[in-house]
């Protein structure tokens, strides 16, 4: 008898509290989703070196984005173009993704308007180890990619090398001590995705941005 009572008790408790959490979740999910979109938009603006005020509301960010960024579809991936105040195309950005140590890593890489130089790297989502792999978010690590020359190669099959040794070598970026797997993953995903973008160089140059609707 007490066995049935116990089961019934847990059922009722679980039902009430699961109802509470899913109710709150449903009520707030739109807002959470908007915050998430704004966060990614801010990162896209940052990698395209488009300034935005530090205390911008989601609407402000949205406005700046629609004025300065356009997106186009390539074969598989999406590509973004960042325009300056006068409407001149300044940079391209494209999403990169790969497998990290604990889960997938996603981010953006920005290239200059000639598609020959890296202008910035940013990571939008990852679940790497805090204090180790998660340091890919830190500015010193990301800034190392800025200005790498894509007309040169770090090795026959790589544009960029992320490693601890070979200081001063071509297109080499310092890896993160204690986060070898994360560093290797970042190297792999950036190289693969740059390769794919550069192979579509002509298509990208041929995009008629003026005809595309605003983002």
């Amino acid at each position: 008898m007490s066995f049935i009572r116990n089961i019934a008790f847990i059922f009722v408790i679980a039902f009430i509290f699961a109802g509470l959490t899913s109710g709150v979740n449903m009520a707030l999910s739109n807002r959470i989703h908007l915050n998430e979109q704004t966060r990614v938009s801010k990162q896209l603006l940052e990698v395209l070196a488009i300034p935005y005020p530090a205390e911008s509301s989601p609407e402000n960010i949205r406005q700046i984005e629609s004025r300065r960024v356009k997106s186009a579809k390539l074969d598989k991936e999406e590509i973004f173009a960042g325009f300056n105040e006068n409407g001149k195309l300044e940079r391209y950005a494209f999403p990169v993704s790969g497998k990290g140590l604990w889960g997938s890593i996603q981010g953006f890489v920005a290239l200059d308007s000639n598609l020959s130089r890296i202008d910035g790297v940013i990571f939008t989502s990852h679940v790497e180890t805090p204090g180790l792999g998660a340091r890919i978010d830190e500015k010193w690590f990301r800034d190392q990619f800025k200005g790498l020359d894509l007309t040169k190669k770090a090795s026959p099959e790589k544009y960029v090398r992320v490693e601890s040794g070979a200081k001063g070598a071509v297109n080499r970026v310092d890896s993160i001590t204690g986060a070898t797997i994360t560093s290797v993953s970042v190297e792999k995903m950036i190289n693969t995705d740059i390769q794919s973008i550069l192979s579509q160089r002509e298509t990208i140059r041929g995009i008629d941005w003026q005809s595309l609707p605003k983002k």
């Binding site: 009572r5 008790f9 847990i10 959490t21 709150v24 707030l28 959470i32 704004t38 966060r39």
Partner: protein, 205 residues
Amino acid sequence: MAVSSKKIALDGIWYNNPIFRQVLGICSTLAVTNLVTNTAVMCLGLIYTNAVSCFTVSALRTITPFRLRIISSTLIIAAYVIVLHNFLMAYLPEISAQLGPYVGLIITNCIVLGRVEAFSIQNKPIPALIDGVSSAVGYSMVLLLIAVIREGLGFGSVAGISLPFEFTKWTIMVMAPGAFFMLAIVVWIARWWGMRTEEAQKTSK
């Protein structure tokens, strides 16, 4: 056995302070105390979780089967923490991102389960609520003290506002070891102070 509300509150805040008397909940003490703002949000989160969890567990104590008390307490705590986590993501997204996994880890914060198991399960809802709030406040005081010192020495600011003078920043203070040092020093001073007053009381008797 009716204990006065005042005694329950003082116990939680000082005489039986979760951090330097029971040494509970030090995981988050070590993790979030390098910035005062994050610490304050974490403390408010814990005060809320502890208060509502203690109250709910106590309200359900007469119908909770004895063998199922831990599982139902954990379920209740987890539900309240998920609610908190959703609110932070919706209204304070930046702080939520910085706190990362730590909000979720309030579920396993030793203070919450400790108070629920040690007090709420045997006491009426109102004393349980007072106990929950006061031990969380006791925890928050220590956390904020450590955070002010760590952020002050490590970043040269308090809650993001720069201190009015220049000095060499103690980088170690914002890293994990800084928390160990500060926690040890705070516990040491508090225990020394506590011991002194206890001895004074003994000799006066």
